[in-house]
Symmetry: C2
Subunit: 146 residues, 2 copies
């Protein structure tokens, strides 16, 4: 079923990246796929549910390896621990709640890429533009105004 297919795809991705296929890696991939924007601790909590005994250190190792291999993307909004998401190749952006630190994806910015060309690069050879929006998530808006 869906799950089995996911696993197979995950395996293929790991092999393609030259990484050995281990239960820990599959579990981490699963955990991150099942919920966006998790920190190492949250991933660990989920992994342990189906793979008790997995160490937090291993989760760090796996997250590091998968990120380096391009199977995961790591973001690090100011004030939050590193957060991992299953990256879809698109370079989407993020909104972070200034009150509760919830994170959501923002599909893209209106003006399209040209927007993200800085006017004066100060001699830097730029290869990526990262946009982070800050605001209040729906829940926090309610709690603040309510």
């Amino acid at each position: 079923m869906g799950t089995a297919t996911h696993r197979d795809e995950a395996e293929a991705h790991l092999r393609a990246a030259g990484l050995k296929v281990t239960v820990q890696r599959l579990a981490v991939l699963d955990a991150v796929a099942g919920a966006g924007h998790l920190d190492a601790d949250a991933v660990h909590a989920r992994v342990v549910r189906e793979l008790p005994g997995t160490s937090l250190q291993s989760v760090y190792n796996v997250l590091g390896a998968l990120t380096e291999a391009g199977l995961l993307r790591r973001i690090e909004p100011a004030g939050s621990a590193g957060l991992y998401e299953r990256r879809i190749g698109d370079n989407h952006h993020h909104v972070v709640c200034t009150r509760c630190h919830a994170v959501a994806d923002v599909d893209c910015v209106v003006g399209e890429p040209p927007c993200l060309v800085p006017s004066d690069t100060g001699g830097f050879a730029i290869h990526t533009a990262e946009v982070t929006f800050w605001g209040l998530c729906a829940d926090c808006q309610r709690e603040v105004t309510g």
Copy 2:
């Protein structure tokens, strides 16, 4: 002279923010004004030069207070410690070198503000857009290609 005027302005700013004027705060303000994008340790190093005995903890306290008061701006690019700059009210952006972590200001983005309106905010009430560009600084370009 210039320095004296700076001090006077700094004092005025502190008072306006309802903060007591202390030598440590003036020194920190000076240190950050004299060089952009310093982390707490770097600020401390500079402050200690003219005010020996100042503790790192005090520098943290001062940086926190000044940031909260809006006299400094704090940024935290992924992989770097918190960096402080004298904020000029404009919401400018930053370029970070992926090799040596050098940071430079980027005055603004070409397409102007409309650019930074996300297409779908996912229910968030957004109040700030922060753009971080990643690339190689001039020095690192030289070292890599040279």
